[in-house]
């Protein structure tokens, strides 16, 4: 059997397990229900169809993505390796004629697909509401870009979750670390950055560079840029970024999110592959 078939077999199992995981289902349902509610309320409040309606819906979805998607991706990523190590199923799996790279890629692919399914459901429902209300035609490409950015964010968080999982042996520990990081990325990130910049009297360029160290911030800036074409609402740092990087800003954000998806995953694999004793 080729490596691809083995990876796909493992991915299918992960996908099936994720869809049976009650936390994952709960997050998905919450995301879909809130996406539907926000879309409906944003469009109803807009009064008129068109870009204003789309902008409000998109802004609501950005906040929703920022809250739920990192939580979902970090949690399932954090459980991916450590829970199997803890139960002993990983040891039995690796006693089969398969390689660690296949196990890692199969798990990652399966969980990435389950996140895609979850996002597709939430954004799909929201998209249908917008199309039915007539505002969906305002800017479909901006909406698709928003979905792509949300998916990149989910992959970045999934990779961070995998890294935590590869570094620990107990699922409870890895999920705890994942939740702590979620708090850091989503809630404490802004405050920390504000505090640091004030305390250290940080130059505006450094503040912008520092914001790239948080994938949630990167997603937020990219998503706002995508629907608004300017980062003025983010204050001086946003103005600096638009002025300094201009047209290449979205590419910088995309590349940063991609790096967040690739680097922690590569580190997680390196740890998993070199874990001597199972």
């Amino acid at each position: 059997m080729s490596s691809l078939s083995i990876i796909w077999t493992l991915a299918q199992k992960e996908l099936r397990d994720a869809l049976r995981n009650r936390w994952f289902v709960l997050y998905t349902v919450a995301f879909a229900a809130l996406a539907l509610a926000f879309s409906y309320l944003s469009l109803a409040g807009a009064g008129i169809a068109g870009f204003a309606g789309f902008g409000r819906t998109a802004a609501s979805l950005i906040n929703l993505v920022l809250l739920i998607i990192p939580l979902m991706a970090l949690t399932i990523g954090a459980q991916s390796i450590s829970s199997e190590l803890e139960r002993g199923t990983m040891s039995y799996l690796l006693a089969q004629p398969i390689g660690r790279v296949e196990v890692f890629l199969g798990k990652y692919l399966g969980l990435a697909l389950s996140l895609l399914a979850s996002l597709a459901l939430g954004f799909g429902i929201s998209g249908v509401v917008m199309v039915l209300s007539g505002s969906g035609a305002a800017d479909p490409s901006a909406y698709i870009t928003l979905v792509a950015l949300a998916y990149l964010l989910s992959l970045a968080m999934l990779s961070v979750g995998f890294l935590i999982s590869a570094l620990t042996r107990k699922a409870s520990v890895s999920v705890g670390i994942g939740l702590f990081l979620w708090l850091g990325f989503v809630f404490l990130g802004d405050l920390g950055m504000m505090g640091t910049s004030m305390a250290m009297k940080m130059p505006i360029g450094s503040l912008f560079a520092m914001s790239l160290t948080n994938p949630s911030q990167v997603f937020k800036m990219a998503a706002i840029l995508n629907i608004n074409a300017t980062l003025d609402i983010l204050g001086p740092a946003g103005v600096y970024a638009v002025h300094h990087y201009g047209q290449s800003l979205l590419a910088i954000f995309l590349a940063t999110l991609a790096l967040w998806a690739v680097v922690p995953a590569a580190l997680a694999y390196a740890r998993f592959a070199n874990r001597g004793d199972l």
Partner: protein
């Protein structure tokens, strides 16, 4: 077929396997015997590539360290601690591992039938009894019809009836010409399956011998509790002590210390002296 050469495995400062070297011939059954912590399971995990080690393990001409995937293709493994996905059915589990081992889906149903689990295919693995799980593990090990079977304490968690059934299945597998390597500390298992026994202690090989020689070579002893009719206890004690046994009074019977391979000897001695043994128990 399998060659261990100077295998050493350390966990920090603790040496679990220390310079272990032995060969296993094709179609032979080798038992690794030893107390807990002797290094048996560690040696098997090294063969499977689950632990890093120094030294060499060759299967045919393949190096287990460098060509682990190809080596594992030649092995079927039954672990001591059965770790399956509890919510997956027995048949789905077999199908999952059949796909990973590149065997046909039909083979999954065949092995379930072979190990007597055909009618339990729909049950979640978590709902199977210990004996059924052990048979499932054997079935999964046989999926790709590998030439070598590796079993780690295969009957340690089974009751007497399930152990008997499992040993029958293993005997069939052995007769089919598989090379078998297994760890055990049960004498009856060694005698039923092994052609050779490798005795380990504290990570080192102490000796190799035939299964029949093991109790005598190791001086393995056990205690037999004999229940005797009222009024015959004293004469039984006298007969057994005269026969050279170390014996003590124990409630309504006596407790006799014997070689593990000579458990019937005190019963025969009492029978020859016309003392009836009402019941016995091996401790």
């Amino acid at each position: 077929m399998i060659q261990f050469a100077h295998l050493t495995k350390q966990f920090g400062k603790f040496t679990a396997v220390d310079d272990l070297s032995f060969d296993v011939s094709p179609q032979a059954a080798l038992a690794l015997w030893g107390p807990n912590g002797a290094g048996k399971t560690t040696a098997i995990k090294c063969l499977l590539g689950l632990l890093k080690y120094s030294g060499h393990i060759l299967v045919d001409t393949l190096d287990a360290k460098k060509q682990g995937k190809m080596v594992r293709r030649m092995l079927g493994y039954v672990p001591q601690e059965l770790a399956f996905y509890a919510d997956m059915s027995a048949l789905d589990t077999a199908l999952f591992y059949a796909r990973l081992k590149s065997t046909s889906p039909q083979r999954a149903a065949e092995v379930l039938d072979q190990v007597g689990l055909a009618e339990h295919g729909d049950k979640p693995v978590g709902a199977l009894s210990g004996g059924m799980k052990q048979r499932l593990a054997l079935g999964l090990a046989l999926l790709a019809d590998p030439p070598i079977l590796v079993l780690d304490e295969p009957t340690s968690n089974l009751d007497a009836a399930a152990r008997d059934h499992f040993l029958h299945l293993l005997s069939d597998v052995k007769r089919a010409g598989k090379t078998v390597v297994f760890t055990s500390h049960r004498l009856e298992e060694i005698e039923a399956l092994a052609d050779n026994v490798l005795v380990m202690d504290q990570g080192r090989m102490l000796m190799t011998c035939a299964p029949g020689e093991l109790p005598r070579r190791l001086g393995l002893r056990t205690q037999v509790k004999l229940r005797l009719p009222d009024g015959q206890l004293d004469s039984a004690l006298t007969v057994l002590q005269a026969g050279g046994f170390t014996v003590s009074r124990n409630g309504v019977g006596v407790l006799v210390d014997v070689l593990a391979s000579e458990k019937a000897r005190p019963i025969n001695a009492l029978h020859d002296a016309d003392i009836e043994v009402m019941d016995f128990e091996v401790q």
